[in-house]
């Protein structure tokens, strides 16, 4: 378990952690420092509120990127998929990363109306992994043809495709 003492050298991260712990008591305890950046693991049901809190109260006004991950072959018992949210704050620049783990078939609430930059990012993750973002107004494939069968970045998708 991480402690606040781990963040003693970085007051900005400490403030973010304390604010999240206060707003979401008992649910934001799972966090880590990865490559000099704070990564918080967020329960699926809280993600929209956490994003709203980070944007409205803590000034993280930029969603730089969203990343999908398929953990099918991972050995540490993770859920099937992870979605990462990479947030950035300026003028006091801090980056933080949120991770949401979900099972196959679970959907995620869209943050389209909070961060417009999530529009194509959510469409990409839907296209590549088949993760549905509920509430997205235009969730279509973005890379693959409309009639494409399957979601190619899933680990169980054959590299050559289904049709040969």
């Amino acid at each position: 378990m991480n402690t606040m003492e781990d963040l003693s050298g970085s007051p900005a991260f400490r403030n973010v952690c304390e604010s999240l712990a206060e707003r979401f008591p008992g649910r934001m305890d799972d966090w880590m420092m990865e490559k000099g950046e704070l990564t918080v693991i967020v329960p699926r049901d809280d993600i929209q509120e956490v994003l709203r809190h980070l944007k409205g109260e803590l000034g993280f006004i930029a969603l730089n990127d969203m990343i999908g991950l398929d953990n099918m072959n991972s050995t540490d018992g993770r859920r099937r998929f992870s979605v990462l949210y990479q947030l950035y704050r300026f003028p006091q620049p801090v980056r933080i990363r949120l991770r949401v783990d979900i099972d196959e078939g679970q959907d995620l609430p869209s943050c389209y109306y909070l961060f417009r930059s999530s529009d194509w990012a959510e469409r990409e993750i839907y296209d590549m992994f088949g993760i549905v973002f509920s509430g997205h107004p235009d969730l279509r494939r973005i890379y693959m043809p409309e009639d494409f069968d399957g979601h190619p970045l899933r680990k169980d998708f054959p590299l050559e495709g289904r049709n040969g």
């Binding site: 890379y143 693959m144 043809p145 494409f148 190619p152 998708f157 054959p158 590299l159 050559e160 495709g161 289904r162």
Partner: protein, 162 residues
């Protein structure tokens, strides 16, 4: 008026030879730059290699004004219907060059997203291998295409028995 009109001149040739001579020496390419092969195609059109020496310098942006389709690069499955349509928009007679390993067979991408050879959707006259083929290879392929055109019999289509 003096009566010193020059004697009329004649050139005797076959109609086939005349037509193919005209066709092969003013190929108007439609360059579809799909990947890195496009860089080599552009270099071929620039002054150092100078494709104008072979009467092909008039790269057209519209397929309706071109008679040579240079498919230079990776054709994805999403792009394939577009390539087919562009080829259909070209007026006859028309020729196709598959430039580079991707256009020939998918090249290094045996994957779900890449068409495994442009000849699955349009007929190809000349294949130029390489990854990417240099301007010399492209010029070599173009000269090969000219030789192929010169051997053609366009009149056999015009005057065939009905």
């Amino acid at each position: 008026m003096t009566d010193t009109q020059a004697a009329p001149s004649y050139i005797l040739t076959k109609v086939d030879s005349f037509i193919t001579w005209a066709q092969k020496n003013s190929l108007w390419p439609f360059g579809s730059g799909l990947a890195c092969c496009a860089m080599e195609m552009i270099a071929t059109a620039a002054s150092h290699y100078d494709i104008a020496r072979f009467g092909m310098e008039l790269f057209r942006a519209s397929p309706r004004q071109a008679d040579l389709f240079i498919v230079s690069g990776t054709v994805t499955n999403k792009m394939a219907p577009v390539i087919r349509r562009l080829w259909e928009q070209m007026p006859d007679p028309k020729w196709v060059i598959a430039m580079g390993n991707c256009a020939i067979s998918g090249g290094p991408f045996p994957t779900y997203s890449v068409l495994q050879g442009v000849d699955k959707i349009i007929p190809v006259d000349v294949y130029i291998s390489g990854c990417p083929p240099g301007p010399q290879a492209l010029l070599d392929g173009l000269i090969l295409l000219q030789e192929t055109i010169a051997k053609g019999h366009p009149t056999s289509v015009m005057f065939k028995d009905r």
